[in-house]
């Protein structure tokens, strides 16, 4: 048994579902997490479970992810019609994703359904390793305050942990992330949930260090989703 820099027990199967507010950073964190784990030599399957907007998420950057060792379950552009309007939005293979060996990272799409979307995932109720992580960006007006976050997370259904993903795109500073870390940690305390990490783009993460001001690990992420639109 050994630990990597953020304390992952290498032998244990990792199953994480990223949920949360629209445009909160679910996809970005899910795919960064998948790449991080793949980089450690782990077998990783990344699942696009966005049933509302599959077009905007993982699909367009699948090839890049595959090249970096991640198995991707997501639609290919040519396979869909109508981009979430006229086509099937849940890829049948995604429903059985938990049957895959190795780590499984799920990008759960937005919508008022919240964590209920997991009901579409076979075995979600019984999988012993599944962690449901709510991604929070306090720069988004609907999750700007402790009260907003608490209310929203309570409405989501099953949530095992929070992740602070506070940022302002290119304007993100360490102070922005740290303010998010404080607010998210306070909300987590009220919700009696752990905070798994603060996520920040590489240069800001470097500035903050290994842990944020609340003592939670910092995840250094790269921005891929900007490419995803095309």
């Amino acid at each position: 048994m050994f630990f990597n820099q953020v304390g992952i027990i290498m032998s244990k199967r990792i199953v994480e579902a990223y949920i949360g507010e629209y445009a909160g950073g679910k996809s970005e964190n899910a795919l960064n997490r998948a790449l991080e784990l793949a980089g450690l030599g782990r077998k990783v399957t990344l699942v696009d479970f966005d049933i509302v907007e599959p077009v905007y998420t993982l699909r367009p950057i699948q090839n890049e992810l595959t090249a970096r060792g991640v198995t991707v379950i997501a639609w290919k552009t040519r396979d869909t019609l109508g981009l979430g309007e006229a086509g099937t939005t849940l890829k049948p293979g995604a429903r059985w994703a938990l049957k895959h060996q190795g780590d499984i990272i799920l990008d759960i799409g937005y919508g008022v359904g919240g964590a209920r979307t997991l009901r579409l995932l076979e075995g979600a109720d019984t999988d012993p390793d599944l962690q449901v992580i709510a991604v929070i960006n306090i720069s988004r007006p609907m999750t700007a305050t402790v009260e907003d976050i608490v209310e929203q997370v309570r409405e989501m259904g099953r949530v095992n942990a929070l992740l602070n993903n506070t940022h302002l795109s290119d304007e993100t500073t360490a102070a922005v992330v740290q303010e998010g870390a404080r607010v998210v940690a306070e909300a987590a305390k009220l919700l009696n949930l752990p905070v798994v990490a603060s996520a920040a783009i590489a240069e800001v993460a470097k500035e903050i260090g290994l842990t944020d001001c609340m003592g939670n690990p910092v995840r250094s992420i790269n921005r891929f989703m900007q490419k995803a639109f095309w």
């Binding site: 629209y22 077009v55 109508g82 979430g84 006229a86 720069s139 007006p141 302002l168 795109s169 639109f229």
Partner: protein
């Protein structure tokens, strides 16, 4: 329940559709009527989440005809009413908009353009320019703001309500699927705290007092028997429109004084145009840009000036000449060589614009 919507200015990270919902709240819109169509859905999603908190209303209608005509009803009742649609929904929306033109009803319509013709695509397009500026069976008596950033979506959605209620012409905010879904930071603010006066709506019908007793009945029609009668009305409206035009028309221009080539683009494409001009200038090429913010009315004198002082003009758009057609009319009688870069329904990057310009300027 009712409270100030934006207590203090703050930077926030939003998608374009959410920006519209927040801007409508900030503009003190009372009610939204809407019908689902991608890529505008999250305007409704966020309006319906936010509206009850501020005592605002929403009605999901049976189609876009109904969304438009209920919006017409909301405005007739003296409320700030708006709707949002796209593509085939915009096609249907032209019918209620034409009634709004005839009755001078300040409805606000947000369009997030999609690819066309027909159902086509939902992410990226500027193919609803002709329809939004000149649609319906009329004379295009509407104001169309074409935005290029989330800050502008916020600013111009607020402005759209003011323009509509001030001049009583239907007013559009023209975005696109990319802006709708794109995420970027902007400053949310309360317009009144910034000294922006929000024009108060007034009822057309359901006015105080008893009609026929205290006052004349307030009655409106859009049907005319006599051609002369209609001519008088339309001439009056077009005169009003013409007088409004210089006050409403907006544009952005840079680096045109010494330019060998002026690039023209609007909306999200303007982002690529502006970046291309910066990059090309850095490489020593004499290029400038002109960007119409209002596509209707256009800033005609400024367009004529650009076309008179430049040797070449390059119109760049994610459509097959819908902006170019408007510009040709505005620039009629000028001499600049008219070059085009049409990419109907697909995105345009700064690099692509730069390559085109380098080809032209050789």
């Amino acid at each position: 329940m009712t409270e100030k919507i934006i207590e203090q200015e703050k930077r926030a990270f939003l998608t374009g559709n959410e920006v519209v919902a927040w801007a409508a709240l900030a503009a003190k819109a009372d009610i939204m009527y809407g019908y689902p169509i991608t890529p505008q859905n999250e305007i409704m999603h966020y309006w319906t989440r936010l509206a009850p908190r501020y005592d605002k209303r929403f009605l999901q209608t049976e189609d876009e005809l109904s969304a438009g005509f209920t919006t017409v009803g909301g405005v007739l009742a003296g409320r700030k009413a708006f709707t949002a649609t796209a593509g085939p929904g915009n096609t249907l929306m032209q019918e209620p908009v034409s009634m709004a033109e005839m009755l001078r009803l300040p409805i606000v319509v947000v369009i997030q353009q999609r690819g066309g013709p027909s159902t086509a695509t939902v992410i990226y397009s500027q193919q609803e320019v002709t329809m939004t500026t000149l649609g319906g069976n009329g004379e295009g008596m509407r104001v169309v703001y074409s935005t290029s950033s989330h800050q502008e979506l916020f600013d111009y959605t607020i402005k759209a309500f003011n323009t509509a209620w001030k001049y009583r012409f239907p007013t559009f905010v023209l975005g696109d699927g990319y802006q709708a879904k794109m995420r970027e930071p902007l400053t949310l603010y309360d317009p009144e705290s910034r000294g922006i006066e929000l024009i108060k709506p007034e009822p057309y019908v359901g006015k105080p007092g008893t009609p026929g007793v205290d006052r004349a009945p307030s009655q409106f029609r859009n049907t005319y028997s006599m051609e002369e009668e209609l001519l008088e009305i339309v001439n009056q409206y077009m005169q009003d429109y013409g007088e409004m035009a210089p006050q409403v028309a907006e544009y952005q221009v840079a680096n045109v004084e010494d330019a060998d080539l002026v690039i023209i683009g609007h909306g999200v494409v303007f982002r690529a145009v502006r970046a291309a001009v910066d990059n090309l200038r850095a490489r020593g090429l004499k290029v400038g840009y002109f960007r119409p913010v209002t596509l209707r009315p256009l800033a005609v004198p400024q367009i004529k000036e650009v076309f008179s002082n430049s040797k070449k003009v390059l119109v760049v758009e994610s459509a097959y000449g819908q902006l170019a057609r408007l510009l040709k009319e505005a620039a009629y009688g000028t001499t600049a060589e008219f070059l085009t870069m049409f990419r109907p329904g697909v995105g345009i990057t700064a690099e692509e614009v730069e390559a085109e310009v380098e080809k032209i300027l050789g």
